[in-house]
Amino acid sequence: MVNIIFEDSFEGFLSALFYAFNNDIKNPLFLKAQKPSLFKTIKVELDENIITIAKGFLEEEIIELFYDCFCFDEEKAFSDVYKSFLFYMKNKHLKDIHKDFIRNLTYYRKSVNRERHKYIGFLRFHKLDNVLYARFEPRHFVIDYLGEFFKRRYQEENFIIHDLKRKKAAIYYEKRFSIEDFDKELNVEKDQYQELWKAFFEAVTIKERTNKRLQNHYVPHYFRKHMTEFDN
């Protein structure tokens, strides 16, 4: 087994896939950060042209699929992408869903998409001086997707979407967008609209139809920590 360390970005990951393929490495394990290991470790540098190179071999939709699976952000997913990548290089398709590793990709993508979609609704922004600030702890790497989404929606605002778990943030400031390492949790204060929102949330409930189990099904507790309307 060989550990392959890649730079923490999709381009970095793609570079590692191609490196492993070109050098015919057996049983590679793809890692973002170096963990102590008994196995041989190779650090793959980011190739600036990797997207162009990848497009020469892979269809656009395959690259998108790999990207979504990369966002799943677990080693198992990285390794299934690699196996699928090898399969694709040989067969020029990924339609054989009887292969476990190909079927898993559908699962990773679904899970990532579901979380992206949930947070489009569940993310809560706080109004600081001149910036809207949202913090949360997603399971997958979703701030890039959410950043792009809110960039279109709040084009005249500044915002920070802070992934506390990965210590990264999607930052949109004076119409420039970037993903950055972000370590410091900002202070938020209560404002009038938060109170109004809580009042509204209470008032629209039909008490005669209370069904907490159904509510838990749709908003599992792990989402609620950063949601204004739930007491934490």
């Binding site: 869903i97 009887h98 809560r124 109004k127 929606r153 709040y154 929102w197 629209v204 099904h217």
Partner: protein, 402 residues
Amino acid sequence: MYIINMDVEQKLRILADGAKYDVSCASSGGVRETVDGGIGNSYAPGVCHTFTSDGRCVSLLKVLFTNVCIFDCEYCINRASNNIKRASFTPRELADITINFYKRNYIEGLFLSSGIAKSPDHTMELMLKTVKILREEYKFNGYIHLKLIPGASKELIEEASKLADRVSSNIELPTEKSLKLLAPDKNKDNVLKPLMFVKNLRDNSEKSIASASTQLIVGATDEPDYQILRLASYFYEKKILKRMYYSAYIPVPNTKHIKVDKTPLLREHRLYQADWLIRFYDFKYEEIVEKDSNLDLELDPKTAFALKNIHLYPVDVNKASYEELIKVPGIGRKNAMKIIQARAFKTLEDIDLVKLGISIKKAKHFIVAKRYLGYSLSPEYIRKAIIKGESKGHSYTQLKLW
């Protein structure tokens, strides 16, 4: 009827409370993009921003402009003769709440309904004023659903359908007889005409015109599901409505004509399932509900259909067309596509279906894979097996539905 000075929070509580029985909350299907210098866009799949403790999705700031009303509809909590606290927003107040909620990502937009204060036109004008502040001053392009006030003038309805993404006018009751009985101030014309008028606009305009929906109260009067679904099919066929909402009647104090105490929510749920089959699965209403009767409460309408038409089954998953596959209880549109994709590589066995993540609990009675899965038994037996299977061990999935 009295209005006292109250702060915005009190108003919001009262006017959200008064609007909550309108079940529509969809924010899907919008096509608006952010405008230069503006805020907001619509997101086609729709977004749920939170769920209240009754398990309902909150997508829009759903409020009444005012709960003052000159009408006296018996099923309505806001009717003139009901002794409740009354309140009204100003257009500015409501526009500001909307935009500030939107910036904090609490909502996809606004759902604005209203009691009828003074006159239909006066009310509609105030609602439009609110929406114009949002659309024109704040350049807000998020989702807006506007209720068309029965009896409002054509000009105002036209304006509403240009500013909003969705407009609606609640038919409330499936027959004019019931409407007369329970809503003496409304008539078929003033709830239906606005919808027809909007349809004509849509057919003859280059600009984008809001889609339309309506709501029916289920169980306050004795029309059967057959009548309700026939009406829904008519609206879908003529492309008058994009959606129909069904609301199980919730008792309102001091009613004279309404005898029932409570409609089972399950009936509402079955109507939605049937509606879905009509809109997305090519079923005809006559196929799923028998003349002058209600849907089967024990079984979902697709399963009920299958048991009545057992000669159409079993369906061979390795050969059946997409259209045949989606008529199998337990197999939806996505799963049908998965099956078609997967069988290109090998003949499917039951275990393959499970691997694909398809639940065969229900479907097994109606399909053939490489070998036969069902027990080739009578519809009566399958019926019992499915009902038993659902009440046993699956109480969770059952509970979550209503």
